[in-house]
Amino acid sequence: MNTLARQLIDRYQKGLPLSPRPYQTMADALGVSEQDVLDTLEELQQQRVITRVGPVFDHAKAGASCLVAMSVPAEELDAVAAQVNTFAGVNHNYAREHHFNLWFVVTARDQNDLQHSIAAIEQAAGYSVMPLPMERSFHIDLGFKIDWEPQPCNN
C-alpha cells in the first residue's frame, strides 16, 4: 500500500469533510491532488481494503440490529453462510471456532422488520438461530489505529 493510502486510512476513518468538494479538502490537507485522492480511494475500494467511504450508523438510533449465532455442521457451513448472505440486512457474517460456528449481524428498519428477517433467515437456513441483541454498549468504535508493518527492505 502506498504512503497516500496509509495517510488517508490513518486520518480519515472519521471526520470526512462535509465541504462541497471533500476529496479536494483531503487532498489539500495531505499536499496532493484531488485526483490522487479519488484514484487512491477507488483503488482501495477495488482491493477491498476499504468497504466504502461513508457513515457508520449507530445501530440503536438508525434502526434495529441483532447479533445472531447459529450452529451448523462444518460441511454445510459455506452453503448456509451464502444462504444467510442473500438477505440484504445481513452486514457481517463470520465463521468462528465454536459449537456456535456462524455469527452474523442482521439490520432492519425497526424491531418488527428485524424479527421478520431473523425468522426468514432461520427458515431459509434450516438451522435454529440464537439472537443475542445488544443490551448495552460500553465502547464506541471510532475507527481503528492501524499498526502498519515495516516496509520491506530493498537489500
Binding site: L38, V53, E97, F138
Partner: protein, 169 residues
C-alpha cells in the same frame, strides 16, 4: 436550513449507506439523485453526526484485508454487579475495539459481556487477552475466545427500507 421530511431522510440514508460517490462533488451527486439541494444533504449529514445517528463518517476499513487476520470475539460470564466495572476496564484498553453487554441464553450460552480484539496474529491476540486478565485480576471470570476463521460478509447496515425506495423510486 431545508429540513428533510421522513421519506427524504430514509432515501438519503439508503443512498449513503452504500457509500459516498467517489466523484469530485459527491454531496451534489447524491442531492441530484434524490431531488434535494446539495446544502440540504450536507446539513442533514452534519445534523446526523451531531445527534449521534452517525457514529463516524469516513473510510470503513476491512481489517482482514490489511493483514489483521486474527479477529477474536472474547466472551465473558460476568456477574451483573461487576459488568460495568469490567466493561470499563476492557474499554480503556487499546486492543479492545468494541464492548457490548448481551443476554445469556442458558443453558447453551452463559456469556453476557462481549469484546472484540483485532490483531495480525493469533498469538499476539491471545497474549493481549492474557494481559487483560492479569492486569485486572479477571481469572475468576469464565471466558471463551472465538477466533474468526472466515469472513463471509462485511458491509454497512441496511437500515432504510428498500421498499420505500421502490415505492417512491
Amino acid at each position: 436550513m431545508q429540513q428533510l421530511n421522513s421519506r427524504q431522510c430514509e432515501a438519503l440514508k439508503l443512498a449513503i449507506q452504500q457509500g459516498l460517490p467517489l466523484r469530485p462533488q459527491p454531496y451534489l451527486s447524491l442531492a441530484q439523485q434524490l431531488g434535494l439541494s446539495e446544502q440540504a444533504v450536507i446539513d442533514t449529514l452534519q445534523q446526523w453526526q451531531t445527534s449521534g445517528l452517525i457514529k463516524r463518517f469516513g473510510m470503513v476499513v476491512n481489517h482482514h484485508n490489511i493483514g489483521y487476520r486474527a479477529n477474536a470475539m472474547v466472551v465473558w460470564d460476568v456477574p451483573e454487579d461487576q459488568v460495568e466495572q469490567v466493561a470499563g476496564q476492557f474499554s480503556a484498553n487499546d486492543a479492545v475495539t468494541l464492548c457490548y453487554q448481551r443476554p445469556r441464553m442458558l443453558p447453551h450460552w452463559p456469556y453476557n459481556l462481549f469484546c472484540m480484539i483485532h490483531g495480525r496474529q493469533r498469538d499476539t491476540v491471545l497474549q493481549q487477552i492474557d494481559a487483560l486478565v492479569q492486569r485486572h485480576d479477571l481469572q475468576h471470570l469464565p471466558h471463551d475466545v472465538l477466533f474468526s476463521t472466515k469472513q463471509f460478509k462485511q458491509c454497512g447496515g441496511r437500515y432504510a427500507d428498500t421498499r420505500i425506495d421502490a415505492r417512491y423510486g
